[in-house]
Symmetry: C2
Subunit: 246 residues, 2 copies
């Protein structure tokens, strides 16, 4: 159940959540996500694995804490420039931030934690979005969208192209091999893959990210201009109605 406030004047615990998080981040950086075990985190603290369970319910909860810890030194959107530049810069920096921390996306992905560090970033981003003229609802949706985009993208980026053939092989070697593979496909069945073999494999991850980001920003910009112009078939936020898949 893990106390939050050490109410009584208890002897200082020797271990704190903050120490678990710091140790967890060190293990993650050193050994990657596959090496991030409760036992190793405990060892990092000079303690036995069972001890961690006094401070944390289970490994999932530790991962939640690590998720917010990974955001600790992420920079919020800048203040100079128009909203496009602000959001572009923020997204690029956020991506670099995640890329710099080993396997960070694997920890963060699919984990919506709302820890203090994430809240700080959200607050700033929402500020820029509203300043830009987005409605409250659009600002909220855009905030989610941008976060999901960057996290999802880095997740792909931090994983080996195809785990089964990760043995050696540089970035460009893998791309060359993929291109050859596509070019060698039966042309009658896969005319487009054969024709675009080069285009599909040439772009760097930087290129792909930049492309996606500019498309997203263009899409958001369209919200500001056409406002109520042509009717995009966007589903109204159906009230209580249960969603189809549940």
């Amino acid at each position: 159940m893990a106390r939050d406030s050490a109410a009584e004047g208890a002897a200082q615990p020797g271990l704190t959540r903050q120490m678990l998080v710091a140790a967890g981040l060190r293990v993650l950086e050193r050994e990657g996500i596959s090496g991030l075990s409760m036992r190793k985190v405990a060892a990092e603290l000079g303690v036995k694995a069972a001890s961690l369970y006094w401070h944390v319910r289970n490994k999932e909860q530790l991962l939640d804490l690590l998720t917010d810890g990974l955001m600790a030194d992420a920079e919020p959107p800048p203040r100079q420039g128009d909203w496009r530049e602000q959001l572009r810069e923020y997204s690029l920096r956020y991506r670099r931030h995640l890329l710099a921390k080993r396997d960070s996306a694997k920890v963060v992905a699919g984990r919506l934690t709302l820890g203090p560090n994430l809240l700080r970033l959200m607050e700033e981003q929402l500020d820029r979005l509203r300043e830009a003229g987005f409605s409250d609802a659009d600002a909220a949706l855009a905030n989610y969208l941008l976060g999901a985009f960057v996290q999802g993208f880095v997740l792909q980026e931090q994983s080996p192209i195809s785990a089964s053939e990760t043995e050696g092989a540089s970035r460009s070697e893998v791309a060359r091999a993929a291109a050859d593979r596509l070019r060698g496909l039966p042309e009658t069945a896969f005319p487009n893959l054969v024709a675009l073999a080069g285009d599909l494999t040439a772009p760097s991850m930087d290129d792909r990210f930049a492309f996606g980001l500019e498309r997203l920003l263009d899409g958001l910009a369209a919200l500001l201009t056409e406002n109520h112009a042509h009717p995009t078939p966007e589903p109204a936020p159906l009230e209580g109605k249960p969603s189809p898949h549940e």
Copy 2:
């Protein structure tokens, strides 16, 4: 090393890769990704874990095979409608397809396999994109972007909101709790989070997906119209130059 062609007239192997994949998919559906172990897959086939290693190098390779197996019955983009409708419909269906298979996104995410089933889908999607008038380079980038978007999104969607508080609690209860949490923040430090507490927590995943998808499609549409109008600061695909982070 796992043979591909059973060259000699060897006695039929009893086990085949296809059987591994089918068994793996059954285990995944029944027990989720945390229950997907080599031992359980083996048991599903009435065999011992060590036997699998004759047919497959390791678990990673089996996951690669499962990734393509998950695409087996995914539907390609439809032919009716304009390109926007085609891509919208395809993305919506692809999302539903992944959502319908337990933990599929956790298997698929960060795994670019280029198996036969994925190739089939790519071929069709590239066809629609080129038909719509996108350049080869843009079609290739858009193809990657849409795939990454849907996969990344479903990954968030298939994970519990916050793993540490997954005990019971329905969709709407979690949303309510999050809203209350945001509303309760210190207003001077987090004015936007407090003001948008409702907007941030109200949208369903359907809403969020639709929003992101329409923004992406708008962004792609802009590529077709303005073509060379105003200069978006898109980095030229720098030739051999090493990327900053490596």
